[in-house]
Symmetry: C2
Subunit: 397 residues, 2 copies
């Protein structure tokens, strides 16, 4: 039915490859490409399906990407490389006539901020080319937008308050490690907080606002208000929203480590001179920290990510909480990766499945909430990320 090319062989790429391979009725021809072909070969070996092809590609290099696309001729690229590389891959898709999906929006390498404008600017070119681009189809962004679209479609006339709540209550038994690319993780957390209220964006200091929120099967966890990219598209697509926020849990030890990493200059993203070499401290730190892909084996506990929504239905106020809990150890048993990679990779596969099944096929650049959420929600239950609903409970928010 469909030829798919996965770019990126990290933790998320490994999960996407496993899930794509599990759905052979939809994904008939599969290739994994990354800067290091050996990493792709290792994934194929772990999956045990020798029909999956692998290739080496430099995702910063449009010409190299185009050559690979023209060679393998995928219908869709699933981009799970680094967010710095979104634009080169989108350019290559336009040149080679390939549809596009990613899980995190473009970010320039030398600045720490997340916004959609760079990628939204590609809308007309994708539309004219008759190509579908699906942006931000991991868990958050991704499932968080689909949950919102599902709530809007079935339960609300008007969504007024939206809080996306992301808890990782896992324990990897390391003194310190980040759960995905530490470079992206640290950038995300050290930037200012930001939320949307009454038509305006309100900026806070980094991690300035926090409160205890209670997560299902986990309990209360200190949760910090962060800016997260899906807020930008959700308030655009749901203009009745009065307030939209994003919360993520962090332990005190984790925050202490981050604070020190900044104090000592190791979170810097500019180059420093070291014995005549130009080195970005945060990139060097990444080389010294545990590889997030190696955390899975001893990872215990679970994640819990969901949307807490308040709004109007038939003129009456109601609340709705939809969430998924994901066990790190179950994720590891299935794919060799922990829950944070799993919850990002599974939705990327489902997004591509939606495209190949013709459910999500709309030339142009699209955020996930612009599509019909129902078939996606159905697949979440089948593909390892079942969701649960609670109505008219106290949202704590």
């Amino acid at each position: 039915m469909g030829r798919v090319l996965i770019i990126g062989a990290g933790g998320v790429g490994t999960v996407v490859a496993h899930k794509v391979a599990q759905n052979a009725d939809v994904f008939t021809d599969i290739m994994i490409a990354s800067r290091t072909k050996e990493k792709c070969d290792k994934i194929v070996e772990a999956i045990g399906n020798p029909n999956i092809k692998t290739a080496k590609v430099d995702a910063d290099n449009v010409e190299e990407l185009v050559a690979l696309f023209n060679d393998f001729k995928p219908e869709m690229v699933i981009n799970v490389a680094l967010p710095y590389q979104d634009l080169t891959i989108m350019e290559a898709c336009l040149k080679a006539g390939v549809n596009y999906l990613d899980t995190a929006n473009y970010e320039p390498k030398d600045e720490a901020h997340f916004e959609y404008s760079w990628q939204w600017a590609y809308h007309d070119r994708f539309k004219e080319a008759g190509l579908t681009a699906i942006l931000g189809c991991g868990f958050d962004p991704g499932v968080s937008g689909i949950y919102t679209a599902y709530a809007a479609k079935h339960y609300f006339d008007e969504i007024q308050y939206l809080d996306i709540v992301d808890c990782n209550a896992g324990n990897h038994h390391k003194a310190f490690a980040t759960n995905f690319n530490p470079e992206i993780n640290i950038r995300e957390i050290t930037q200012n907080g930001r939320y949307y209220e009454n038509g305006k964006w309100v900026t806070t200091g980094p991690l300035e606002i926090h409160k205890d929120l209670t997560y299902p099967n986990i309990g209360p966890r200190d949760s910090y208000l962060l800016y997260h990219e899906e807020l930008e598209s959700l308030v655009k697509h749901y203009p009745t929203i009065k307030r939209a926020r994003f919360w993520m849990t962090f332990g005190q030890e984790y925050l202490t480590h981050l604070r020190v990493i900044q104090n000592i200059g190791m979170a810097r993203i500019d180059e420093v001179d070291y014995n005549g070499m130009k080195i970005v401290p945060l990139q060097f730190l990444k080389a010294v920290l545990p590889n997030p892909q190696d955390l899975g084996e001893n990872y215990e506990g679970e994640t819990s990510i969901g949307c807490r929504i308040r709004g109007l239905k038939d003129g009456k106020e109601r609340t709705y909480y939809v969430y998924n809990n994901c066990s790190h150890q179950e994720a590891y048993q299935e794919t060799g990766m922990q829950g944070v990679s799993y919850t990002t990779g599974v939705p990327a596969m489902i997004g591509a499945m939606m495209f190949f099944k013709g459910e999500w096929n709309r030339p142009g650049v699209n955020n996930v909430e612009e599509f019909n959420p129902d078939p996606f929600m159905e697949q979440l239950n089948k593909q390892g990320l079942p969701w649960h609903e609670e109505f008219d409970k106290d949202l704590e928010l």
Copy 2:
């Protein structure tokens, strides 16, 4: 009267150069050499004495050192380069017939431990060559040993308990910085604690033992038992000692930063591979942290370092506390460097002065407590590190 060559142009080297230049009656010909000649030239410019010569030398390279020694023909080398370089400089001194003084004992680059055995092994060669080597002539080691020798000479028949107490109550107004070469600083603190008791060395975990000690003009400060190199020579030279310990103050924030630096792998002293380059994390960290030499300008507060001694005189128990308090800002006003560099550099100059005046001239390798402490103690009062005595007070130890 004397030709002296200073090797090292860091914070301590800067202080040594200032103090040597201030004592032109003793030091008639002065050269400063380091890997970077520009750093030496800047020191000469700050001192404002164009007669001081400068040179470039790689202190790891014995042949280069010998060539420089044969050219400038110093009578003594003051080694304030890195402790890794003690042995190459000692070798060069033997080859070129130059006397030697340093402030910190040799340490191999790839292991973190401090002991005298490497340098003591040079005793016979220096003795046969008729050359004097003076080891560990900073403050601690250095003045700590001279204080002990002075106490033994004047106040005790038998020193039984010795506690060297080192407090830095300064504030440099940086989130985190080390007061001297951070590489040495971190190595020193992350190693096991060790003290001497009843003829045996007792090992503790790193920073395992700590207590509040009260410092003059400062007050109580949490003080940690560390191993420090002068303990090794002092228990050898004062065999009546029953217990010898070394204590240093650290704030909680400082320790938190050190703990995180270790947890994230940045205290590692082995090479890691980074994009094909071999880099030692701790050395890279040093390049990112504030330069200890740049801390002086805004450094407030003072240091207090001394010896607390208990023992017998005429059959009766007595206690003795001898110490110096040094103001960071006064040190900076005089030399452009903070108190930690100042308290190390001034004794190095005085040690060289003792040699040139014929007070400390004994072929072989010597620790400072083996010489007559009286003329050195006299100079401490004249050269900016006045000392104070307290008798028969509660030592808290």
